[in-house]
């Protein structure tokens, strides 16, 4: 999925930074530790803004461009924060043949957020995800991790209304 560096201001706290430093310390000397460090950093901050990548670079001595290379390579690493209401529509094959392409467009229309981005007030985000493995319920979407399955386009406005 395409990625852009965030335009949302960084609001990291002292507490988050301490957690991050603890994670980096935990992996000191471990072979191939950059992936788990980035994964745990994302758990702490919710995404991986430049400030966090820079901090990891300073502490580990790995150049920031190499860290950015990894962060931008893997779909799981987010360079943008999620919205308060994070909508993710599965575009795996099983969901796609059952019409998830229409579902995501309907979500985009109802939320007025383009696919793959976060609304400017930070309230809503909409992303297309790879297969989440709930193919038996296709087509599916998740809102803040909760799964909605066996959807039709007409269900969307009603489901989203609960979060608006």
């Amino acid at each position: 999925m395409k990625k852009k560096l965030t335009t949302v201001d960084f609001r990291g706290t002292k507490e988050q930074e301490e957690k991050l430093l603890a994670v980096i310390k935990k992996y000191a000397g471990v072979k191939g530790a950059m992936m788990p460090i980035l994964q745990e950093a994302q758990d702490i901050y919710g995404y991986l803004p430049y400030e966090v990548q820079k901090k990891i670079s300073d502490e580990t001595g790995v150049p920031v461009e190499e860290i950015y290379g990894i962060a931008s390579f893997y779909a799981q690493f987010k360079l943008n924060p999620n919205g308060e209401v994070a909508v993710a529509v599965c575009l795996g094959t099983a969901c796609y043949v059952k019409g998830s392409g229409d579902i995501i467009e309907e979500c985009s229309r109802v939320l007025n957020v383009p696919i793959g981005s976060t609304s400017s007030d930070g309230k809503y985000s909409l992303e297309a995800t790879r297969c989440i493995g709930a193919c038996g319920l296709a087509p599916v979407l998740t809102i803040n991790g909760e799964v909605y399955g066996r959807l039709t386009k007409d269900d969307i406005a009603g489901i989203l209304a609960k979060y608006m």
Binding site: K31, G32, M34, P36, L91, G92, C131, C135, G136, G149
Partner: protein, 529 residues
């Protein structure tokens, strides 16, 4: 702690009572009269199985029979379309699409009154045949479960149930009765081929990595980065039977002389990761992983590494680069991983389903395994079937079963009376099997011969409403997104292909476009890693 083979055998006997009722036995542990199995696979969890368990616990408590009924959360039963699914033993009554408000009825009528609730039971889609138990359901009848033998049968978070079903016996046998070369020979003779899609003989892979045992640091790795959309075989094995993979990796470690293993799992599989980690911890506590297993000189340790959503990391060299902590880009082969793999050391890398077959092969012998399947593809294959099909879910059939049997008999056919158009196998880099070839027996060589591939086992069914050009565009879009960018023909070529398809979809296609696309595809294939 289990530190000798005798202790393992004694434990197996002691724990057997915990699972016997599920094989129809009327022997019970103490006051327990019935077992209620609730599917805790990702599919059923998404459709609400955790709420079922909560409600059931509450109702049993209220009725004062909590000590008579054993509730077990298992891995995937296979019939995801009908989730959440629940089975009551010893009868084997199959309840489908159960809601929390149905629980009270099931408890009163079935668990207390011994009368199964007919209206909530699964009914076959065809005719008015009423299946009374698993073995009577069309979905299960044609299946043959080897890799999935424990999925939906045991509690994956309870090592005792795994041991009760012959768990770790194969490892015990291998460590105390066989030489590493005998292990490799058995795997070779069984004819097992890589279930990740490549189809390379597993025993041969192990043999290549077996030189200089004890002199060089080696690794055993497991590919659980199931990236093909619509594929969830490996996830289901990890969720339903994690110990089988652990046991198999330890066996591989003994065979090639490695003392350390890595399982590379997609981060998108939280339940699988949690259960695998719990299983590794339990195995360590019991002494089945760690130092001097079964009192021998063999030691083995296992770690989990999480993928982060990159399709290309399903490729073996990319996966290893990713475990090392870099962008997951493939490296040229040779050198093959068996010579220079993880951290530059000799490595055996197999997929989850391949490993799940290993303990069974060593326990029952190469001939037993080779008696299933076709001449060049032995054993069984697990498929995740989805799309326009009645029984969406997970199934395992002997190699050589035809696509027609899978779709129309086990899969229950196409919903809404529509026509079958094609089945897509092998993920984005695989192909589509058209209706005219529906009687092809499925094995590695047959699928390759018709220009398709076995792949890891994702099988997406399409009906007359699906547009093949649109499907091709969908996969190309995926490929363009997931191209790692290392080789120019792939990075640029896939994008050009997508542009041509967009043009065709816009109604501006020309006859030459087809030739152009075919030519470009050949170049991309031959000039990329």
């Amino acid at each position: 702690m289990i530190s000798t083979v005798e202790q393992l055998k004694a434990a197996r006997q002691a724990y057997a009572i915990q699972v016997e009722m599920r094989a129809g036995s009327d022997k019970s542990e103490g006051k327990i009269r019935k077992h209620v199995l609730i599917c805790g696979g990702t599919g059923c969890t998404s459709s609400g199985s955790p709420a079922l368990r909560e409600t059931l616990e509450k109702v049993l408590e209220e009725k004062g029979i909590a000590d008579e009924i054993k509730i077990v959360t298992t891995g995937c039963f296979g019939l995801c379309a009908l989730g959440p699914v629940m089975i009551v033993y010893p009868e084997g009554t199959f309840y489908s699409m159960v809601k929390p408000e149905d629980i009270a009825t099931i408890v009163d009528s079935h668990l207390i009154g011994n009368v199964p609730v007919e209206s909530l039971q699964f009914h076959e889609m065809t005719g008015d045949h009423h299946a009374s138990g698993l073995s009577d359901m069309t979905f299960y009848k044609k299946q043959h479960r080897v890799a999935l033998r424990n999925c939906g049968v045991i509690d994956p978070l309870n090592i005792q149930e795994y041991i009760a079903r012959d768990g770790y016996l194969a490892l015990a046998k291998v460590l105390t009765e066989m030489t590493p070369d005998e292990v490799i020979q058995t795997v070779l003779d069984s004819g097992l081929r890589g279930r990740g899609g490549g189809g390379f003989p597993t025993g041969l892979k192990w043999k290549f990595a077996s030189n200089n045992r004890g002199q060089v640091k080696k690794y055993v790795a497991c590919n659980a980065d199931e990236g093909d959309p619509g594929a969830f075989m490996d996830r289901s094995v990890l969720e339903g039977d994690p110990h089988a993979v652990i046991e198999a990796m330890a066996i591989a470690g003994y065979a090639i002389g490695a003392d350390e293993g890595y399982v590379y799992v997609r981060a998108e599989y939280p339940i699988a990761i949690e259960r695998l980690q719990a299983a590794i911890d339990q195995a360590k506590e019991e002494g089945l992983l760690g130092e001097k297993i079964f009192g021998t000189d063999f030691s083995f340790d296992l770690k989990i590494r999480l993928g982060a959503g990159a399709f290309v990391c399903g490729e073996e060299t990319a996966l290893m680069t990713s475990i090392e902590g870099h962008r997951g880009e493939p490296r040229p082969r040779p050198p093959f991983p068996a010579v220079k793999g993880l951290f530059g050391q000799p490595t055996v890398l197999n997929n989850v389903e391949t490993y799940a077959n290993i303990p069974q092969i060593l326990l029952h012998g190469a001939d037993w395994f080779a008696s299933m399947g076709t001449e060049k593809s032995k054993g069984t294959k697990v498929f995740a079937i989805g799309g326009k099909i009645v029984n969406t879910g997970l199934l395992e059939v002997p190699m050589g079963t035809t696509l027609r049997e899978v779709i129309y008999e086990i899969g229950g056919g196409i919903p809404n009376g529509k026509q079958f158009k094609a089945a897509q196998t092998g993920g984005p880099s695989g192909g589509c099997i058209p209706a005219s070839l529906i009687d092809t027996p499925i094995d590695y060589d047959n699928l390759t011969a018709i220009g398709c591939m076995m792949g890891s086992g994702g099988l997406i069914v399409m009906d007359e409403d699906n547009c093949m050009v649109d499907i091709a565009r969908f996969f190309l879009d995926f490929t363009v997104d997931e191209s790692c960018g290392k080789c120019t023909p792939c990075r640029v070529g896939t994008r050009r292909l997508l542009e041509i398809l967009d043009k065709i979809i816009a109604g501006k296609g020309e006859r030459e476009d087809l030739d152009r696309m075919e030519e470009m595809c050949q170049y991309i294939k031959s000039a990329s890693l």
